[in-house]
């Protein structure tokens, strides 16, 4: 690597790492009493920590499932049968970027309140399900883009027609042929959705739910050292989540490589070159 590249890399690394290390250092300070894990103990002893974290993880999982169930077939179908409306769909999925979350949540609330019958109000609008609904909208731009990029890399038209000509139904084609080839894109979309929900503050706060980010803010406004500890914990959690998704994405890849290595004796030179690139 040339010197200029190393300098750029160092500056970039510092930009990200200095605040993290500063926060870590601050989180283990105990006022005049030197260093210790007092702040962490305080956080882990607080039942609110576990409750809010579990609540947010649940919301994140539900949002991820709903978003994928909604978007994977949609993106697939738009690419396959309605390529003309692709630009329009893309524009619609960008809207959540343009509309501030505060407008989104107030608008959604007003909309559902004025149209919903009583039972729906209780079971949906005034329940955490409403939050999931808002988060699905919020994650649209990221999910659409991730899936779109993945699907462009695959010749879905030909794969679909090949599967159909072999007698496969629509659902079999989607689950056995298309989805396995979108594995990386779907995992990336899942990760993005998960992380967005885990970090979303505005909507949850306005809708009066005690999610993990709301809890962080509450702690942050009152207790300085535990807030730093909490920040370190949440950064760590995000890394763990990202690592899990990355590992999941690699498993499929490794399987194929192992097969290649096993058949190495008879493999064509071109395939070996490909292995080198990978």
């Amino acid at each position: 690597m040339p010197i200029s590249g190393m300098v750029a890399l160092a500056i970039g690394a510092l930009y990200f790492l200095v605040p993290v290390f500063a926060t870590i250092k601050f989180s283990v300070e105990q006022g005049h009493a030197g260093f210790g894990l007092q702040a962490y103990r305080q956080i882990f002893d607080d039942p609110q920590f576990r409750h809010t974290l579990w609540f947010s993880v649940q919301l994140a999982l539900e949002t991820t499932v709903v978003t994928m169930a909604l978007m994977v077939p949609t993106v697939y179908w738009v690419h396959l049968r309605l390529p003309k409306i692709r630009a329009a769909v893309e524009a619609v999925t960008i809207l959540p970027f343009v509309v501030p979350p505060i407008v989104l949540v107030v608008g959604l609330f007003d909309f559902f309140k004025s149209f919903s019958p009583d039972w729906l109000l209780q079971d949906f609008v005034f329940s955490p399900k409403f939050l999931v609904c808002a988060y699905v909208v919020l994650s649209l731009p990221f999910v659409y883009r991730a899936l779109d990029a993945g699907i462009r890399a695959v010749d879905i038209q030909t794969l679909t027609e090949a599967a159909e000509s072999l007698g496969a139904s629509r659902s079999r084609t989607l689950f056995r042929v298309i989805l396995p080839n979108l594995r990386e894109a779907v995992l990336a979309a899942c990760l993005l959705t998960f992380v967005i929900v885990l970090g979303e503050f505005t909507i949850a706060s306005i809708a009066l739910y005690q999610t993990f980010p709301v809890y962080i803010t509450t702690i942050g406004s009152a207790q300085a050292y535990p807030a730093a500890a909490l920040t370190v914990i949440s950064v760590g959690l995000t890394f763990v989540a990202a690592a899990i998704f990355l590992v999941l994405g690699r498993i499929g890849l490794r399987k194929r490589r192992t097969a290649l290595a096993a058949g190495m004796t008879s493999v064509a030179p071109a395939a070996v070159a490909k292995l080198g690139e990978a």
Partner: protein, 355 residues
């Protein structure tokens, strides 16, 4: 009874007529090529047979059964695509097994069939490889095995060789023909490559502008083109604007040069006709100052290109005609550029079309 029938297929895309009434019947086990330039409707016809497109009118009949409105996954048709279409997440064997799994074949029977098919296409050693570990030619062989595994009633091939190297293309087309003959499967093959179509087919349908220009055996298509388009599209052809000079004896006047042509016999003298002449029918004589004997076209060699066994010559005749002639390369040194020559051809070798 014909095994596959295309009955008066019509298809319009906006203002563009992709198919303007195409009808053709295939006997069981027949190999038919749809040959034509891009936009001629050949792929549209194939996609209608496969069920990926619905015709505006007309019917597809397989073994007496109208399948026009049946979904592609219920037609029992095997298809090999132009683009690489193997499922990237499956090995060669899993790809071939896919259609059999859909049909719920028991696994022992399935494995046997997969092994058999991969052996037929010569890939028994590559069963466990993923598509990205196979060369283009191997991928298309697996695709062929996959299409044939389901014992389809009809096999469709959509320019399956166009992404491959020239050498592989020739090998694989012979192999496709061998497998097709071995299994006796009714096949429709779409290509824009005339050599490919002529070398493997029982019959060729030359298509142009959404219709079939000529349907016949490769020899008929090459030797007796029925229309001006076919004459121009298939092989290299000399086209000479001429006029019938003598009806009974069969002679034409090519811009002042009188030449014997059997095919004009019975046509009224003075009629304008188009003379078609293959470069390989022409024989050349050198002229060294002597006046030419009658019955040929005198001219001069203007270009020479070496093509291996033959050498192709361009000749500018004195009457204004331009001709292309093939001569064996062993004797080609006699016909260098600027050499004066006489062009002759057997009187039965020229075809005649109305102008």
């Amino acid at each position: 009874m014909p095994h596959l029938e295309l009955q008066d297929l019509r298809k319009q895309f906006g203002t563009h007529t992709a198919l303007g009434g195409v009808s053709v019947s295939l006997a069981e086990g027949e190999f038919l090529s749809l040959l034509g330039p891009s936009g001629c409707g050949k792929t549209t016809a194939l996609r209608i047979i496969a069920g990926f497109l619905q015709p505006d009118s007309g019917r597809i009949v397989i073994a007496g059964e109208d399948v026009t409105s049946r979904a592609p996954n219920r037609r029992d048709i095997g298809m090999v695509f132009q683009a690489y279409s193997l499922f990237p997440n499956m090995t060669a064997a899993q790809n071939v097994a896919f259609g059999l799994k859909v049909r719920k074949w028991p696994s022992a029977k399935r494995d046997a069939r997969v092994g058999e098919l991969l052996e037929i296409v010569g890939l028994s050693h590559a069963v466990d490889r993923y598509p990205h570990q196979l060369s283009g030619g191997m991928q298309q062989r697996v695709a062929l095995a996959r299409a044939l595994a389901i014992e389809p009633r009809v096999l469709l091939l959509d320019e399956p060789l166009s992404a491959l190297d020239a050498l592989v293309r020739v090998q694989l087309r012979e192999e496709i023909r061998r497998v097709q003959t071995q299994l006796g499967i009714t096949t429709v093959y779409v290509t824009h490559d005339q050599e490919e179509a002529l070398s493997v087919s029982d019959r060729v349908a030359v298509m142009y502008g959404g219709g079939i220009e000529q349907l016949g055996s490769p020899a008929e298509i090459y030797g007796a083109p029925a229309t001006r388009f076919v004459a121009e599209f298939i092989g290299t052809m000399n086209r000479l604007e001429s006029r019938v000079a003598e009806s009974e004896g069969g002679a034409v006047d090519i811009n002042g040069a009188i030449v014997q042509v059997d095919a004009v016999r019975g046509r009224p003298a003075g009629q304008d006709v188009l003379l078609l002449l293959r470069p390989e029918s022409i024989t050349l004589e050198t002229l060294n100052g002597k006046p030419p004997a009658p019955g040929g076209l005198a001219g001069e060699v203007t270009a020479q290109s070496f093509l291996g066994a033959i050498t192709r010559l361009k000749i500018a005749a004195e009457n204004g005609s331009e001709l292309i002639a093939n001569v064996p390369s062993t004797g080609a040194q006699a016909f260098n550029v600027a050499q004066r020559v006489v062009v002759r051809f057997p009187s039965d070798s020229a075809r005649v079309l109305d102008v």
